[in-house]
Amino acid sequence: MQNKSIAQLAAELRLRNYSSVELTRHYLERIARLDPRLNSFISVASESALAAAERADRAIASGDAGPLAGIPIAHKDTFCTAGIKTSCGSRMLDNFVAPYDATVVERLAAAGAVVLGKTNMDEFAMGSSNETSYYGPVHNPWDQDHVPGGSSGGSAAAVAARLCAAATGTDTGGSIRQPAALCGITGIKPTYGRCSRWGMIAFASSLDQAGVLARSAADAACVLDEMAGFDPRDSTSADVAVPDYVDALDNDIAGLRIGLPKEYFGEGLDPRVAAAVLDAIKEYERLGATVKEVSLPNSPLSVPVYYVVAPAECSSNLARFDGVRYGHRCEHPKDLEDLYKRSRAEGFGAEVQRRVMIGTYVLSAGYYDAYYLKAQKIRHLIADDFARAFEDVDVIMGPTAPTTAFPLGAKTDDPVAMYLNDIYTIATNLAGLPGMSIPVEPVEGLPVGLQIIGNYFQEARLLNVAHRFQHVTHWHQVAPSGFE
């Protein structure tokens, strides 16, 4: 069951080959048996999952079932879920059960999806390796001594290990695409504003975007079809019509113009990763695409700009965690300031505290113009680079990450080295563009991701381009050893 596509599972549930309760039990059994090796789940919601599966079975029997009826999925633990703990990977929210569902959660539930649980993540989505979670690191199913990538690493590992059919994720600087690449699955970060941020615990509000981690582009399209769309409750939600992503999957891609940014193939890129990515692009040429070099001259600045904008916004967003209304509170505070300071120091881990402090510094009196305003101006230049490139090409392709998954602990003492893992993904968040990662030929048994970047609201084209590649290759179907 765990190797079937979402479309196959949906069809077989409707044919009553098995029930959603049986399918859900199957996944819950896999989680219980296999997840101790991965630590990809923070909460497993067996009881509510089985209740949702029963409802799905009844809906299917009555012919009134939603498109994802009975399909077991998981949510990244940054999405608020009524009745299931939402920790955001932090001690701060270890005791937090949200009083409502995020819009994304609500929409997938309305489509009939069954939520198996909440996946592990870097604390408050801050990290590139899934090692900053209060609940411990996630292990990559392809090699459990290696990281799965962050911050949606729990979702990526769970999907790769076939512990759920798909999972939600969020991407602020690459946090869907980079773990998808390192775990050998398919991940899509839609255009900024495409999926509602309401009920998603905010990290950097002008960059955060919800998306999907799935085994294939076709599976991702099934889930995104239900998630995407305008939400009046999110004031940054885009009121732009959503096409049917599944319908667009099989469009012909002959004549597709692919841009290769020369800045994405330079220093720092593992030559074996480069070779695997270029081989994949040759496959696209065989499918009728043309390839052209493009330039994104300001892209090397995306990491510095990101490490001003994201911490600045995070220091503001995380000010709400003060130990007063929800979350962790220290013992015996001697006054209000002591309550704030100790609750936050005890509740937040080291990386979160680092970023809150950087953000506080760059926004403090006398430094705003030199840092935040300057970064927002360069952000404009980065977005302009993409706009120029898209005058000549339909999509941009390159590596998702500079290397394959690195060993656990290899970069935890060097924040700057860790930050450079997202060098190819950050620019699209700064510009607000959609991006995907799909698996290509692995290097020494570890997955490699091909990144596909599209113009604004071109998710259908990205999924179509990815699907055509997956039609002629099998990398998305290979399961890690021990998780087949």
Partner: protein, 95 residues
């Protein structure tokens, strides 16, 4: 850009974070390294460049000024660390 212990103490206070004295040196080194990375921005000429406030250049949408939420005080306070009579309790602020 190099930050010293007094900078770290000031930033930590602004951020309302208690920092253990033995951690200050480490924070100073980490934050200085991050600011060195960020310093690459200085060499870029941004004269006449508009700051990008929103990726889609959209202005903030406003909702109609009408009540759309009902009172859920009890539900929200169920997750609070300490409440009494519908109020959030904190240490005494005014003597």
């Amino acid at each position: 850009m190099s930050l010293d212990a007094s900078d770290i103490e000031r930033i930590a206070h602004l951020a309302r974070l208690e920092i253990a004295p033995e951690a200050i040196e480490r924070y100073a080194a980490d934050l200085s390294n991050i600011l060195d990375l960020v310093a690459q921005m200085e060499k870029v000429d941004t004269t006449d460049v508009e700051p990008m406030a929103h990726p889609l250049h959209m202005s903030q949408r406003l909702r109609p000024d009408r009540v759309s939420e009902h009172d859920q005080r009890e539900l929200f306070q169920a997750t609070a660390p300490l409440t009494e009579d519908g109020l959030y309790l904190v240490p005494k602020v005014i003597d």
